[in-house]
Symmetry: C2
Subunit: 496 residues, 2 copies
Amino acid sequence: MPRVAAIIGSGAIGAGWAARFVLNGWNVRVFDPDPATPERVHAVLARARRALPGLGDVALPAEGELAFCGLISETVTGAEWVQESVPERLELKQTLYRKLQEHAGEETILASSSSGFTPSDLQATSNNPGQILVCHPLNPVYLLPLVEVVHSDKNHPDRIDRARETLAEIGMVPLRVRGEITAHVADRLQEALWREALWLVRDEVATTQEVDDAIRMGAGLRWAQMGPFDCARIAAGPEGMAEFLRRVGPALNWSRSKLTEVPELDAGLIGRIVEQSEDQSGHLSPEDLEDRRDRNLVTLLRGLASQGWGAGVALRRQDEARAERRAMPRRMADLDDPARPVLTVDRAVPLDWLDVRGRMIEARCLEAFGHATDRMLEIVGSAPGDGAAEAGFLTEESHIRHLDTAPAGAPLRIDSRLIVGDGTRMHLWHEMTSDGRTLATAEQVLLHVEFATRTACEAEPAVAEAMRRLARAQAALPAPEGAGRALGAPREVTRH
Amino acid sequence: MPRVAAIIGSGAIGAGWAARFVLNGWNVRVFDPDPATPERVHAVLARARRALPGLGDVALPAEGELAFCGLISETVTGAEWVQESVPERLELKQTLYRKLQEHAGEETILASSSSGFTPSDLQATSNNPGQILVCHPLNPVYLLPLVEVVHSDKNHPDRIDRARETLAEIGMVPLRVRGEITAHVADRLQEALWREALWLVRDEVATTQEVDDAIRMGAGLRWAQMGPFDCARIAAGPEGMAEFLRRVGPALNWSRSKLTEVPELDAGLIGRIVEQSEDQSGHLSPEDLEDRRDRNLVTLLRGLASQGWGAGVALRRQDEARAERRAMPRRMADLDDPARPVLTVDRAVPLDWLDVRGRMIEARCLEAFGHATDRMLEIVGSAPGDGAAEAGFLTEESHIRHLDTAPAGAPLRIDSRLIVGDGTRMHLWHEMTSDGRTLATAEQVLLHVEFATRTACEAEPAVAEAMRRLARAQAALPAPEGAGRALGAPREVTRH
């Protein structure tokens, strides 16, 4: 029974929430009086469909259903989660919550995307204030993992926990904010920087392009993986944090009066920013800018996942949880029928796996086949582990046939067979398909060696036995088409 | 004749500069009275040797020589560039510059890493103020590209240009700061955020961990690829920047008094930060933290390069310049001897191409071989280009033998041969070596097709002719060992 989320307000934030919920298998109902709502939400969903499914290494659940409702009652009734993302006007929100609460179930979580108002602000005129929380995301909601969870003393801890669990289940990283302050945590930090940026442009010290480059060629790169306190810790070095802070502390008080005043966004400054921003990025359409941003974010996030760091840790954890829910085989005992090929990869094509022509990059194919091989190793009990082992399987050869391609977000699965399996040698066959179409095949030969000397040696008896069992069971399958071919053997070529 | 850089002061920043100059082929002389200087500089250089050479796709020049000098005179005489990175004390720096200028040539650029002082501050007591500029980098200097170039009206435009060119040549992205203000641009932006972070910890709204996560799970990811003005442009959406700014402007003036005051770093706050930072990252040694940071930054930067965006654009530009300087062949006419294998890849192993055991990841091998194939296509005149072409070569098969591995930063070259080349089919052989050791070989078969239908068709006559010429010239080479083998063909296996 799919879970139901109600989305109230469908600007960029609301539409982003709708996309994230739908792509995580929830049925989603959207309410927004603006007649452009379906078009806007579908545009965001199309973008999210390309970016989110392939962000991790395990497929998302089947998409939920998306519906547009004309009444709050039909939107909210039966919904487990209601996400409010209407304009930042307190009375508007308070009135809305009273209306939502006429139809929301007792257990329903009413979450506000509000960047400025506190839960107490939003709860002030409600009869059931404990239902209302703040769950404040960043744009694009379907990609950036951070969501700040803010509560008042009227929210029960169980509800707060349930909210955080739900947000984690849809792939987010909930940050519990300890107090109620305007702009919470993330936006206060961003706004401090934004205010300084405005001063720099106002005082003609930098253009909008130069401010942006000062960030994205410098501290922005650092901040994608470590925040200001970890950066300070590294800067402190052998001196240590305490001494470092004592030393740099006084600099905060230098007469930098501008750092602490609020610049006025008058017509002159607005005009200058508009003009400079147009010079900077006017050559890209709004859609192009969002396309580039999404590709960049997917690349950055997958990079952090490959390093097991920062936001990437959350991605890996989500992959583990999804693999569990999809009951992907992890050991011999998980194989329903060892005589059948094993499902080793079940994912979607990442946004950054395609070249300029929209074709899957060959090296990325091998990356996916590498994951399939790792899964087979895990199944026979010889997982790569943490690198401490002295012996294990090394890949000696890979032979890949590149047959077809699939677009970003398309499903991608690999089914694998153990062609030869004894205590020393593993010969694998992998078939990569998307919706039944074969995209590529790969053969890999691995040898069990002592890593230090690269000398062949027998695997542990349990592993050797598992390999023999699996190879025997799968020996009855017909020989895979294309296996064992030498590269470049003549074949039929269709000509003009 | 190698160029000479003098490094005055060898803390993290000075040592980082030394590493970047040395790895870009400059001879470097370091002056710092601290007896721990050589140990410290060598530690930073070791780290940089793993991270910087493989950051781009083209090898750096041969390393320069590193020397430690006991006198300013011998450090500075004959140096083209002098980088000063001593503690932030104005009189100390001013005295130092008078000393440096006793020995610096007239054309020598005296650059200060100062984060706080302006060029006018530093020039105030000099007889030759126009020699002194500010070139302010970020830590780690050997990885982060941003360097702010700040000048006064006493600096000649030619000198400023020369400084920027030199910085670009050593792989940095110089940002010309338009005025003289304390902390320039980048640090003002960072400090605004830092000040807010201190308030949040002081007021117990967030711990150091929570502040850092609020950044690196959210805006930090955005800022690695787009700065605050581009992010605002996207947020403005169809509303447009002007209307967006008018709408959000007033929020800056809300009573958020804390946003505009300077927090006092008293003993209590220092103690709290030290304790929370220890909780957050005390489980990692300082070396581990820097190792992880370097791997993360390399991954993020190479990701942006693969997307042709932000800091990645600079990396690609630097690759182009290095490929030119190394005279890597780009077309048939560049081949000194078409009968010899062609040097198609000349690079170093990136820090993030290794698995937990320090072995090169197979998919990354194929990534390098993909670059080699792209270079061969370019040489015969069939470059992949911008994706607009309707026909071209598609890779049909890849066969890779994985033989050995090399550590991060080690040289990596690929020499390629055209085994078969006619108007329709290209059969390539690539050999990957590091210091003469064979790491891997690859065969690739490509077919010239109409992309839309994947139907074979003849390449343009010039391309077909170039392919035939090259294949004929190289036919006299002995057959490559291992070419044309079917996967898994029996071979000698050394056993325990």
